[in-house]
Symmetry: C2
Subunit: 183 residues, 2 copies
């Protein structure tokens, strides 16, 4: 049975596919529920996908948490970027003189039996003035222990350390275990 990654985002597709090579893209537009816990967002999409199509599915949500805003925007980061862009994220951190941030990917997997499991990856870091252009908030996120923002790294370097690849490797382990059990 095919394993579909429900996303319209080519960057996310490439990043997850670099770990889980067998995924196929399914670009269907599912409503994103307004919730602050990304598990709810991912679960709602997986359930909508199961009603819509046959197969196994994965859905991901990536959140950015600013310590100065007590965790906002979290999964609402998309709207922050639309409204205030990366410069605005930096301006908020600067206004509070608190640049600490965490980024987190949740991948939800709906298996052939319908069971949903979650795989997480997170990274601590700081918000810096935008450096280079890049996908989403990559220009302003400097992961702890590195001196380049995600936007400054090569795709390979980023994929090696990113919160999304951490979650994807946990998913891959799960898929491998399932296959080995099924044998």
């Amino acid at each position: 049975m095919a394993l579909y990654f429900i996303t319209g985002n080519q960057n996310k597709l490439a990043e997850v596919r670099s770990v889980v090579s067998e995924i196929e893209q399914l670009d269907i537009d599912l409503p994103e529920v307004q919730e602050i816990d990304p598990h709810f967002i991912v679960k709602a999409k997986l359930e909508a996908a199961k009603a819509h199509h046959q197969g196994e599915f994965i859905v991901e949500d990536t959140s950015l948490y600013l310590q100065c805003l007590n965790g906002l925007p979290g999964p609402l980061i998309k709207w922050f970027l639309i409204a205030i862009q990366n410069q605005g994220l930096y301006n908020i951190a600067k206004a509070y003189n608190n640049f600490n941030a965490e980024v987190r990917t949740i991948i939800g997997h709906a298996g052939a039996d319908g069971a949903i499991e979650f795989f997480e990856g997170s990274l601590a870091g700081t918000i810096v003035e935008p450096r280079e252009t890049g996908f989403g908030w990559d220009p302003v996120f400097l992961p702890e222990g590195h001196d380049q923002t995600f936007a400054e790294m090569s795709k390979d370097e980023k994929n090696k350390i990113s919160m999304r690849s951490i979650a994807a490797r946990k998913l891959k382990q799960h898929l491998d275990d399932q296959r080995n059990t099924a044998r």
Copy 2:
């Protein structure tokens, strides 16, 4: 045919009912889509309601727009209040030294024929340090031309001027017009 206001919020129910006395509360839990344009949020809820129940429906969404954040949080205000409370809203405005805000209610009405119409009310104002306790962001919103926050006003005073009552009066006019045409 009954006119249902879909809300679990007694404050909103009382405020709209003070203008449109015949509404009945329907407290069903409908998913809130993650959108920055409240029209989409209201429309999605009305469509879910129609699939769920018979009748005419109204749904409201009230947004708070901070000028310093280029319109954020808008309809995402709920999550800002959960994460940073009213004091946090004030702290953001203070960090930017820009206290300008706008509050806006959109009421969507799905008539017996299924047509959806929107009614809006908005007010300009400023964000102040929290004064008194009250519903939502009432303690920090000082409407232009007034010297009391919504939380400091009596319910009657607030209902007379609020963005929600402006929208509700437009809805009432629409309902009255429909009835007169039907006669």
